[in-house]
Amino acid sequence: MAGDGGITRKTFVRGGALGAGALAAGGALAGGLPDLAASAPSASQDEATFAYLLELEDLQAAFYAEAVKRGALTGETKEYARIVGQHEQEHVAYVRKVLGAQAKPAKDFDFGDTTTSDERFLATAVEIEETGLGAYTGAAINLTRGKLAAATRIVSVEARHTAWARDLADKNPAPVASDKPATEREVRATVAKTSFVKDG
């Protein structure tokens, strides 16, 4: 349920003000390009970019698959895991198709106890969706035009997932006016901190 009062007024006001401020300060549109652009878009760069995005899609798909399989989730959270898990599987299939024979097999994951309750699951879902979204918005500009158009159709879906997970976790679904792209280095650091990806 989108309960009334789950999110405090203070959180919202602060979120709105920050977002407006960041944009008004010119950071998003008029400012310099953050450290995102690799070299000029090319087929080989597309491949590297999609290989990186595939790792994240694999992680997301595995997380939701485990949550659904474990069966500990309830109500709309359970519905969220089922629907979003299906989407992530479709994204994995799409990216694997683009990569063809170059696609690496999915790694093994260990999600610990994160799928054992609605609360733990949602906290992790918010984190991996925010990370995936930042990765896509950061990586997309390195793609050639055709691939960029395809990735854009995934960006907005990841954003929908993120907002939905945040709403279920009683967080402001859209805390800022412009989402910040993340560099590959930032994303990899975040993923490493979770210890979800097994070694080897």
Partner: protein, 248 residues
């Protein structure tokens, strides 16, 4: 409890006039305001808002032979950013009016406040980038939709989904990389808005694994079909008031 019966709706076309025109509110409003049939209204609209929208929808003027490359890319970028600006003006006014009229309560009021602030920030940012090339803010007439919570939410769903589809369609065509990064950052926020309002309206927040982009002419046609874009002269006579709604 939330209604769950429509949690599985597909990537349906959200912004159809029928969907927007809940309870024939627009049609009623139009007739009561002008005493016109819808056909007459459409003919009139073609002169006012229609001209503006058509101008936006038209492809950029063909480049001179020696004027290719960068200059053309810049012109195209400006045209895309102005198109985005129109949609942001529309959304910003929509939320601002609902706030002003105090139509909404609780979570819905919070959504309108937060999202309205974002849309106004988008307007400000786009105007800042476009400078003297920015299109002027058109006048809007929401025909009472901002006065009724349910109609408001349904229309907000349509506008947010449309804005996602518009950014997805034109964003990847932006040549300047800083603008492209910014457009993706805004697209992502519009998609969060869409997700949020869909949930409030009892719809599944993410209906499909891939969002469908919409070409510019189609978006312009859909915006035109709402009759929300008004002319300044008409605005003076028809701006939304809580009461009386129909002055005949």
């Amino acid at each position: 409890m939330r209604r769950r019966d429509d949690m599985h709706d597909g990537p349906e076309l959200e912004l159809q006039l029928a969907e927007l025109d809940a309870d024939d509110a627009l049609a009623e409003g139009i007739e009561s305001v002008w005493g016109d049939s819808r056909a007459d209204f459409l003919a009139k609209a073609a002169v006012g808002s229609g001209a503006l929208l058509a101008a936006l929808a038209a492809p950029a003027a063909p480049a001179l032979a020696k004027d290719k490359g960068k200059a053309k890319g810049k012109r195209q970028d400006r045209s895309i950013l102005n198109y985005a600006l129109l949609l942001e003006y529309l959304q910003a006014d929509f939320y601002t009016e609902a706030e002003r009229l105090k139509t909404l309560k609780n979570e819905s009021a919070r959504q309108a406040r937060v999202v309205g602030a974002h849309e106004r920030a988008h307007v400000k940012a786009l105007k800042g980038v476009l400078g003297g090339d920015a299109i002027k803010r058109p006048s809007f007439n929401f025909h009472g939709v901002t006065e009724r919570p349910q109609a408001f939410r349904r229309t907000a769903v349509a506008l947010e989904d449309l804005s996602v589809a518009a950014y997805a369609g034109q964003g990847p065509r932006i040549q300047s990389r800083p603008y492209l990064v910014a457009a993706l950052g805004i697209l992502s926020v519009e998609a969060r808005h869409a997700s949020w309002i869909r949930r409030l309206a009892g719809k599944t927040p993410a209906a499909s694994a891939f969002d469908e982009p919409r070409p510019k002419p189609e978006v312009i046609r859909l915006v035109q079909a709402t009759h929300f874009v008004s002319t300044p002269r008409k605005r003076a006579r028809t701006s939304s008031k809580r009461s009386p709604r129909y002055t005949g």
